[in-house]
Point group: C2
Chain length 544, copies 2
């Protein structure tokens, strides 16, 4: 690849975006008068656009609005819907979402509908579904490889790369189980910020309020799913990338333990071969815990090692929770990141409901290692490449950094110089944190820990910063899930406001009004199955 | 700890050995006329000494000679033997072994017999055994911590350390399952050679021929088990340490996948926090595959994560092998290490027997990445500490290196300078090897791979060198087992002699006569259960 900067990288990126737009059939396009309102400075919600724009038939609206993935598979498997109609409906709605929030990177609707037809034919001919995901449209983060499509992951210098000649390992596995792929979704430059913004595809906006972030790094999925332009997405997660878009957009997500889900075969944003102790994972993001469980069970029971040499190959276990009350640890924020009132209220509501069901809550605030310090350590593991490969990708094209990257480079990290000797000490520091958490979990006989996934709801673009509440689970390699719960309501949130709290980013109740709040539920390592059952209990309790 | 060399380290070491010797009751001591024959230069076997020395009663001889661990537990659980008599018999026989082959580091026979009494009382009072290892004496490599005993691991500078105040995690776990500990066993200085030799305890000798190595790093176990001074031992393995003593001494051993067995709480020979990609494991070494399975099943089903924060916590699965013939890959040596005739004959005999049962053998010699190069890469992962901590431990005491360490420092390694940048490339090199092996295993639909664990039987002291055939499985993180098969017999081995082969170390048929040969059977990662079943099939086939 040339080391000469690309003279007109802006033009190259514009061509890519234009080629993308052309893949949206003209009859699926929104009016200019509508789309001209959609900008990253517009503090408006576009959540209702799919229902109000008139492009979707009532049947399409029903299929995309009122069912989770589990229900859709059931409809298709029992012949009450075809994959072609379900897939077409999601293609249309994804096209609408794209025009509202700029969430897509690659569009392959025609291939998807052809594949859906294959699924329908299979069912008709064989009298049985292709697999547990029969005919289901699934959206993918851009970093997945799908044969025949590009995976530029937002780097200008990757625009000259040819389309992928093979699928990511997980893409093949899910395809074998009946999945249908129809689009890939936006992410941040370098994949290491919580703003899905890059110089190729621009910025993905939050459907609940376009002036706020959709989260990252899987923000394209977050926005698309919130628009119900997808029912199930797949997200990587090394610092929260599967969970942050979920909590920003009001979705459910599940970050498994490392090695449960095949990771190989995608496009990395940096150098391969990291000696860091944090292993990236892939998890589902969508609308229900039963969908997350369907995804995990399907993956783990598919002979994963045959697909991927780095996977642990541990089958999904069927577990039953103890009949005794569950014991939840509780983390209510950290000194450097006090919880914004809607998040504090959501967490309080969650613990209150759980207690009313007889479950036990054990306060951990002072019992666990400093969560900010743990985040700094985690981030150092992400900065171990002496060649700074992601920066060299940017320099190759002469493209600038996106603004959000600067926000993660806090003082402790700006001074960090990676070294082999220092890496030994970093591992030792990680062992101490791991040991302390293990002690807390075992001694308190905890089943899980309730905590925020972020101190705030979705925040203004480029203000999310470090991700202490989500990178912790990557550092520990504990599985974790996000459940949406309540919404910011200034009136109700007021009692959780603390005058002397240094909210960071600032708490702006008017701006955040109506945005989804959430809880995070962290389980024990490799007990993904137990955590899934616990999430089911919490989800049900929150809904009551 | 002082940086001043210890003026009289030889004297300190002698005191430690003397204190050890005093823990052997006088009535369990061999005559001076006998022990004076036992030296590292004596090419004699001492295997028969326990039976001929007259110290063991017929009952003690029977208990220690004719049963594996599974059978002994059955005897004790059903009341046909007490733990006190079984433990006493093994304490006596271990004392005899120690006087023949210098295999022990710590002796705590009295505590063991008291603990055995506890087990017997428990059974009598409760009418049920303590656990699947009820009353079973188990020997431990010196690097395990056992409360109240030292763990010097052969470093002079560690002699000043106080006795351990806590147990290794696995020691606690097995104790909860009924195990009885009675001794710890010798290992090499730095734990990184195949000769169990250090300046504190001296050298462990091979019971089949004292002039040969017992292997390492768990050579004390190997020698003790071959003398039947133990029925089951526990060995760490990062380059073959659980398998090399087995193949040198004629034993069975099993190296599991990383993370199956709790590793924490022991004494490391070097710096903690290695960023290397090879994770040390612990496995059983003993007399039968069913004992290895008993050990693994008991461990994995004991809620391991509660004992150890770094374990994967994956329960032992009950598996059934396919009813079709098994498909074995076959590696018949590598250009740099042609197989000595007895090893080639053992491997040939094994494949012939398996084929006669209808199993399939697929030759892999040219299909897999260069095994010598893989070993060099693996060794580089062991040399990543810029502070060279093991060397600093030696310098603290002013003690010299043992000779065998120099044998592992081949040319490719003498030039190696670890660096952070280089570590990224090493990981990439490992990925390529992993990928190539995965492709071979999947495309050939292999159930396991047959190969040597070493190119030779036990060899002369300080000549074992690098361990390409055993470190491969650590680099790949594939489980692997050693089964003894045949013995060196010059007459029969002759047809496997190749005039132009550059045997390294040299092939000396007279010296190696009668020494055990072996086969190694490598499984697929995390399919420890499947490998165990395959080992059972191979063990049975070899016995027919």
């Amino acid at each position: 690849m040339s080391e000469m900067p690309i003279a007109d990288w802006q033009g190259l990126a514009a061509s890519k975006r234009e080629a993308n737009f052309k893949k949206i059939p003209e009859k699926w396009r929104l009016s200019e008068s509508l789309t001209s309102q959609f900008a990253e400075t517009s503090a408006i919600s576009v959540i209702d656009v799919p229902a109000t724009c008139g492009l979707l038939t009532p049947r399409e609206l029903d299929l995309t609005s009122n069912h989770d993935a589990t229900a859709l598979v059931e409809l298709m498997t029992s012949g009450k819907a075809t994959s072609v109609e379900v897939t077409t409906a999601f293609c249309k709605r994804a096209a609408i979402a794209q025009q509202c929030v700029n969430c897509l990177t690659e569009i392959f609707f025609e291939e998807a509908i052809a594949r859906a037809r294959e699924c329908d034919d299979y069912l008709r001919k064989n009298g049985r579904p292709m697999g547990p995901l029969h005919g289901l449209p699934i959206s993918l983060k851009d970093s997945f490889n799908v044969r025949g499509t590009q995976a530029t992951i937002g780097y200008i210098s990757f625009l000259s790369r040819p389309p992928a000649t093979s699928d990511s390992n997980l893409v093949t596995l899910l395809s074998d189980n009946g999945a249908v792929y129809y689009c890939k979704t936006n992410l941040p430059q370098t994949m290491m910020t919580a703003d899905s913004h890059n110089n190729v595809f621009g910025r993905t906006l939050n459907p609940h309020n376009l002036s706020l972030t959709a989260g990252g790094s899987t923000g394209g999925e977050g926005a698309l799913l919130a628009m119900r332009g997808s029912v199930l997405g797949l997200a990587t997660d090394v610092a929260g990338s599967c969970r942050i878009p979920a909590l920003c957009c009001g979705l459910t997500s599940f970050k498994p333990s490392a090695g449960r889900v095949p990771f190989g075969g995608g496009v990395p944003p940096g150098r391969l071969g990291s000696p860091g102790s944090i292993i990236p994972v892939i998890g589902p993001i969508g609308h229900s815990i039963r969908d997350a469980e369907l995804t995990m069970r399907t993956i783990c029971n598919s002979n994963t090692w045959v697909f991927d040499e780095n996977v642990l190959g541990v089958p999904w276990r069927s577990v039953q929770l103890p009949t005794r009350p569950l014991r939840f640890g509780l983390i209510r924020g950290i000194p450097k990141r006090p919880l914004h009132p809607p998040i504090a209220r959501g967490l309080h509501s969650c613990t209150t409901k759980l207690k009313s069901k007889g479950h036990q809550i054990i306060l951990l605030d002072d019992k666990v290692p400093d969560i900010w310090d743990s985040a700094i350590l985690a981030w150092k593991f992400f900065l171990l490449d002496p060649r700074k490969t992601p920066m060299s990708y940017l320099q190759q094209a002469g493209e600038p950094l996106v603004p959000s990257i600067g926000r993660t480079m806090v003082k402790e990290l700006r001074e960090f110089e990676p070294s082999l000797d220092g890496l030994w000490d970093m591992n030792l520091e990680r062992f101490k944190i791991l040991h302390a958490w293990h002690k807390v979990m075992v001694e308190n006989e905890l089943d899980a820990v309730l905590m925020p996934g972020n101190s705030a709801t979705a925040v203004a673009h480029d203000t999310y910063g470090l991700t202490p509440f989500t990178v912790l689970q990557n550092l520990l390699n504990y599985p974790s899930g996000i459940l949406p719960h309540l919404r910011a309501e200034e009136e109700l949130d007021r009692q959780f406001f603390k005058r002397d709290a240094a909210y960071e980013p600032p708490y702006e109740p008017k701006t955040f009004e109506g945005l989804p709040a959430h809880v995070q539920v962290m389980g024990k390592p490799m007990q993904d199955e137990e955590l899934m059952e616990i999430l089911r209990v919490v989800e049900k309790t929150l809904a009551e």
